[in-house]
């Protein structure tokens, strides 16, 4: 059973036909060929498939694509603008927050949504915000550091 949906992916409206049971993650990776969003557990327990849906972080493996109809989706591919890295990406790079990199796209998107509503977070608030993003390499220290730096930079940018 299929349905035609209209979703905005990284600022571009797309018309696609999807089977009812397809998840947003499957559509992103397999139909739209956006491979930055990763599948690690497919059960909503790791956050590697995190995308922003109408600005909110969601596990795309637990969203039916049909439920994204009419919504705006941001994947990791939409974060950098015309080749210019977002400050969050720059801080992840500068602060050593990236090792194998598999959790990184999901982590960055979670961070982006979080910092837009929490511009001056504490260390604990940052840790809570990324609790749904599993990482096996870093132990989270450098990631928390990078997010703190990114918050400061985004604040400075506003002023």
């Amino acid at each position: 059973m299929k349905k035609n949906i209209r979703i905005k992916v990284n600022d571009e409206w797309l018309d696609i036909e999807v089977e009812h049971r397809r998840t947003l993650l499957q559509v992103i990776r397999e139909d739209l060929n956006l491979l930055g969003t990763k599948k690690m557990c497919d059960m909503g327990e790791c956050g590697s498939c995190t995308v922003l849906m109408d600005g909110r972080a969601v596990n795309s493996c637990l969203i039916l694509a049909v439920d994204a109809d009419g919504k705006s989706i941001e994947t990791i591919e939409g974060v950098a603008r015309e080749g210019v890295l977002h400050p969050i990406q720059e801080e992840f790079v500068a602060k050593g927050a990236i090792q194998c990199g598999f959790c990184t796209p999901g982590m960055i998107l979670t961070t982006k949504a979080f910092l837009s509503s929490h511009p001056a977070p504490s260390d604990q608030e940052i840790r809570k915000a990324i609790s749904g993003n599993f990482c096996r390499c870093t132990g989270y220290e450098r990631i928390v550091d990078a997010i703190g730096s990114a918050a400061t930079r985004l604040q400075d940018k506003k002023e």
Binding site: M43, C46, E77, G96, Q99, R136, G139
Partner: protein
């Protein structure tokens, strides 16, 4: 003190940007048009004879393009002991042992086809306890072997019995460690593609593509020249991809051959947890003789390694654990009896530290217990016995650089060891432990090699192509190796294109395991870069009409040291060198074998690694006696890595290692039911610690400047995983007076130990 322009700097990883944008390609991202999906039918029984397999229904299902069984995969493979075939034809040895493979056009068809394969089994008696498996009459896991001991290792240095006689105290304690999973973010996966010239291209998340190629060639009986292994970015390895040794790899390859189409095989997370290998369970006894003044006279360790059904890395893991315990302290009387034992359970493999973390846990915890029993300071007892620079240990390891004491002192100072022990607070305690790990290793008998390779070309525009045998599985090796080459050549990092992972374009090497990338990979790169540098200087000296020794290179400029305005760009030199009669390219190669030795066949001793890295962990805890919860107030982790080529990268590795070690200590465990099925193969109940669970971690780098490694560097990654549970268990005892040694030490275990202690003390006082 030499100052460097690249080495010793916190240079951001060269692959960080593409990972931050999601552009980095991993094997999971590799697809082909016309590609098929593969899966396996697995035995539901722990031990069974296969009476019959009927694949006809599966074969007839539309969309199924190939089905294979054991008769299609008669390849024997293994790591050091060849005891495994990809699909079983005669009998299965653990729940999950594969018996058939299917390739189909999509996942739905694949799942249906797998359910249509009919297998008739005759269940056999099974054995799940390695101790029982060693007894005569136990069910035989491998019929062609005489018992269930896959391998055994016996070291007997000095005279341990005499050492015990000379001791003032002899203590014997028993320890067991649990199975833990790698939990690599990228699940195990591969794509096999055969082309019309009968050549196989195998996309694989390998830690050592050139070894994968050798192993596939040997097992499949195909020349290496007809196998190309391509490894892209790897989403974590931690030892689980340290060689091509999984049934799925062979199954994908044969299905691709049979169907004539590319075949992809990807594990689900549930499969990844238990069937991609894990850290072996060890059952250990440690007997230690010690003098009144704290000098250890000798040690005897017995270790039973629960191998699971196939040996994989089990023998190596058993061997390493034993070797390293004779390499940390100065006692020369050391005996180790290690057994790798088959059971009808899923099998373990190499996992960060390969056996060292487990045996260290036993040895260090016992030493902490001994210190406690004798009323001695656990720090002082270690400082007293610690190996030092220049020592040759019981195992024959030579300490050319050793910062063990400095490591211990550094964490003790950071945690406030002396002050806090003098001013006790209720329910608070401190623990300390140290460890040693190698930098590359020669421990596999018969394999007298431990090498890495590098090739380097400087292009006309002054950019550099660097190819290494080291795979960056997230450890930052590509960045460190580029830094080394950039330092030697005087060319900026941004001008480097460093590649790895393709057996067609990259040199051969043992890849990424045994903490060898920085030192062994680094020396290969350094030698190649030095060679290239000399070529540049020679060519430049001709053009500038000076002696090569009068020249230096910095920021891609070749200049006369005494008169820097007399200079040429590297690009100009390369072009000059190439575009002339009998011109030359600037190209270099290096194959560097680490100066380590195999153990002597008679004495068993040998300097089995080029260098040894040391580390220490000190932990302060506060225990809530009402619940048993242990709150870690601080962890200090020090590491002697010789020289930090990239300090930020090294700290990142240490933090990751502490995270893994804490999980091993407090929360992670593979729980098996009574048939060997994993009960908690999902992230909710396989508890990897999250960001809110992590305590403050202070990482301290100690540089003992090894005389051999590049710029003095030694290995980093595995030492970081050693010592955390050792220090934690001791800290808990220091806080509330109970030794909870059964890892992971969950709040429940601490609570129950405290409850039992209250009962016995009230009984004795009542």
């Amino acid at each position: 003190m030499e100052t460097y322009s690249m080495v010793g700097k916190d240079i951001p990883r060269v692959d960080a940007k593409i990972k931050a944008t999601g552009e980095a390609v991993y094997t999971v991202d590799v697809t082909f048009p016309n590609m098929l999906w593969a899966g396996m039918v697995r035995s539901p029984l722990p031990h069974a004879r296969i009476l019959n397999i009927d694949t006809r229904k599966a074969e007839r299902l539309p969309g199924v393009k190939a089905v294979i069984t054991g008769k299609d995969t008669p390849f024997i493979f293994g790591v050091s002991h060849m005891d495994q075939t990809p699909l079983q034809a005669e009998k299965t040895r653990y729940v999950g042992d594969p018996v058939a493979g299917v390739a189909a056009v999509d996942q739905d068809t694949l799942q249906e086809a797998l359910s249509l394969v009919q297998v008739d089994y005759e269940e056999l008696p099974a054995v799940f306890d390695p101790v029982k498996a060693m007894e005569p009459g136990a069910p035989l896991v491998h019929n062609d072997k005489e018992g269930n001991i896959a391998a055994e290792y016996h070291y007997d240095f000095g005279d341990v019995e005499q050492a015990f006689r000379e001791a003032d105290h002899v203590f014997e304690d028993h320890f067991e460690t649990q199975r833990v999973a790698h939990v690599c973010p990228e699940p195990h996966n591969c794509v096999a593609v055969w082309d019309a010239s009968d050549k196989l291209t195998f996309y694989y998340c390998s830690q050592m593509p050139s070894v994968t190629r050798v192993q596939l060639s040997k097992a499949l009986g195909i020349p290496e020249s007809r196998i190309r292994v391509i490894t892209n970015n790897v989403g974590g390895g931690f030892g689980s991809r340290a060689t091509s040794k999984f049934p799925m790899d062979f199954v994908a390859i044969i299905l691709a051959r049979k169907s004539g189409r590319p075949v992809k095989f990807e594990y689900t997370r549930a499969e990844e947890f238990i069937w991609s290998s894990f850290r072996h369970k060890f059952i250990m006894t440690v007997k230690t003789g010690i003098k009144k003044d704290g000098t250890i006279t000798g040690r005897h360790i017995t270790n039973i390694c629960d191998n699971g059904a196939y040996s994989d890395y089990g023998p190596v893991v058993t061997n390493v654990g034993g070797a390293m315990q004779g390499t940390l302290y100065r006692f020369m009387n050391y005996r180790y009896d290690g057994y790798t034992v088959y059971t009808n359970l899923p099998y373990g493999g190499a996992m960060r530290g390969i056996g060292n973390p487990q045996v260290h846990y036993a040895g260090e915890t016992q030493l902490n217990m001994i210190a406690h029993r004798l009323g001695m300071d656990p720090l002082e007892i270690r400082l007293k016995n610690a190996v030092q620079t220049g020592d040759e240990t019981a195992t024959g390891a030579v300490m050319k650089s050793c910062g063990l004491k400095e490591c211990l002192q550094a964490v003790a100072d950071k945690i406030g060891w002396k002050e806090k022990r003098a001013a006790r607070k209720p329910n608070r305690g401190l623990g300390i432990a140290c460890g040693v790990h190698f930098t590359g290793v020669r421990l596999s008998p018969g394999i007298d090699a431990d090498f890495a390779g590098a090739t380097l070309t400087v292009n006309d525009d002054g950019s550099v192509n660097l190819a290494t045998s080291c795979v960056d599985i997230g450890s930052g090796s590509t960045t460190v190796l580029t830094q080394i080459a950039a330092e030697v050549l005087g060319i900026e990092m941004e001008k480097f294109n460093t590649i790895f992972g393709d057996t067609e374009t990259c040199p051969m090497g043992w890849g990424s395991r045994a903490s060898r990338n920085t030192a062994i990979g680094g020396m290969a790169v350094k030698k190649a870069a030095e060679d290239a540098r000399q070529q540049i200087l020679t060519a430049a000296s001709q053009k500038l009409e000076v002696h090569p020794d009068d020249l230096n290179i910095k920021d891609s400029l070749v200049f006369v040291k005494a008169a820097p305005s007399k200079n040429l760009s590297v690009s100009d030199v390369v072009r000059f060198n190439r575009y002339r009669k009998d011109g030359q390219a600037v190209m270099a190669k290096s194959h560097w074998d680490a100066p380590s030795e195999l153990a002597d066949k008679v004495t068993g001793r040998g300097n089995f690694s080029m260098a040894f890295s040391f580390g220490a962990k000190a932990i302060e805890v506060e225990v809530d006696q009402g619940t048993g919860e242990t709150r870690i107030l601080e962890i200090a982790a020090s590491q002697d890595l010789g020289k930090a080529i990239n300090p930020l990268g090294a700290i990142a590795q240490i933090e990751g290692g502490v995270h893994m070690g804490l999980g091993f200590a407090m929360s992670e465990e593979i729980l098996l039911d009574d048939r060997g099925r994993m009960k908690n193969n999902y992230l909710l109940d396989y508890r990897v610690l999250g960001p809110l669970d992590m305590p403050p971690v202070s990482s301290i780098l100690i540089e003992s400047n090894d005389p051999i490694g590049p710029y003095g560097a030694k290995g980093v990654g595995e030492m970081a995983t050693i010592g955390t549970p050792d220090a934690l268990v001791s800290a808990v005892n220091d806080a509330v007076g109970v030794w909870v040694t059964d890892l992971p030490i969950t709040p429940e275990k601490v609570f129950m130990a405290l409850k039992a202690k209250k009962k016995t003390s009230s009984k004795s006082s009542g």
